[in-house]
């Protein structure tokens, strides 16, 4: 069940998803390392891997794994 007064914006975002074209989960995993290395190098990661940002906005699991990989690499320097 949903808890009371959950954010309407969050639920609407979950129901409607990102409007732009996006990668699939498999493509996301395939390109996640390329995207994160590109981000950390200060490159234009979204131009480098189109559709990744949209997928991360729509898929909480892939977004968690993206955040974790990025965080790990940042912590390792």
């Amino acid at each position: 069940m949903t808890e009371p007064r959950r954010s309407r914006e969050r639920i609407m975002a979950g129901l409607l998803g990102p409007s732009g074209a996006e990668l699939t989960c498999e493509e996301c995993f395939d390109l996640l390392d390329v995207y994160v290395d590109s981000e950390l190098a200060g490159e234009h990661a979204d131009e480098h891997v189109p559709g990744m940002r949209e997928h991360l906005a729509g898929c909480p699991a892939c977004a968690e794994e993206h955040d974790s990989l990025r965080d790990l690499l940042t912590s390792l320097g």
Binding site: T2, R5, R6, R8, E22, C25, F29, H48
Partner: protein, 214 residues
């Protein structure tokens, strides 16, 4: 692509010579035989274990009540399975990222999936058919403006009238109940990719019905 981006174009990453050289050393050692391979495999496993522990530590709130030994076991299992996957996919590495970045993602995936499944192992899937009806009352505050109320109600009506029962079930579990997609995939006997495709198609239909794509 789930959507209509025609192709994933990737410019050649500004890979440094060091990065490519490092990757070639890893690949050569992992494809070698005897002691060289064993040493490389051991070193890679150490890195994967570190990545798995990192992921489990990030998710420690989901693992509340899980003892240290079990968490250590989850990390080791994640590193073991990641290593197996990597050794089977060495030919898939394309020198577009650091080799270690490519490898770490396997360990993070394994640990993340284990964490989500463990957190939900004792829980029933909350498939409540009345959840859609109750949604406006649960999400709209008294001060919510009319436009937001109408928009949410239009979406819910479209969920009820324009989606298939399977799409409704998947959307409800993933979005309303926030069941992790790996957990739902396991319970329904399908894959994460297949579920996301269902979710993507349902969302596209909803956006079309309410005119959100125009």
């Amino acid at each position: 692509m789930a959507g209509s981006v025609p192709t994933v174009w990737r410019t050649t990453a500004p890979a440094t010579v060091d990065r490519e050289a490092e990757a070639r050393v890893w690949l050569a050692a992992l494809r070698a035989t005897g002691e060289e391979r064993e040493d490389a495999t051991r070193r890679l496993h150490d890195l994967l274990l570190r990545a798995a522990r990192h992921e489990l530590n990030r998710r420690r709130a989901m693992l509340a009540g899980t003892d240290r030994e079990t968490i250590d076991d989850l990390a080791m299992e994640s590193a073991d399975d990641a290593l197996t996957a990597i050794l089977a996919k060495l030919d898939d590495y394309r020198f577009e990222s650091r080799f270690t970045t490519w490898a770490y993602k396997f360990a993070i995936l394994e640990a993340a999936v284990r964490t989500r499944r463990r957190a939900w192992q004792e829980r029933e899937l909350p498939m409540d058919p009345d959840a859609w009806t109750a949604l406006p009352a649960q999400t709209l505050g008294p001060a919510e403006d009319l436009e937001n109320r109408d928009r949410l109600r239009a979406v819910i009506e479209a969920v009820r009238t324009d989606l298939s029962p399977h799409q409704r079930e998947v959307l409800g579990a993933l979005v309303l109940a926030e069941v992790p997609i790996d957990v739902l995939a396991e319970r329904l006997g399908t894959t994460r990719g297949a579920l996301y495709k269902t979710l993507h198609d349902a969302r596209r239909k909803l956006r079309t019905v309410i005119g959100a794509d125009t």
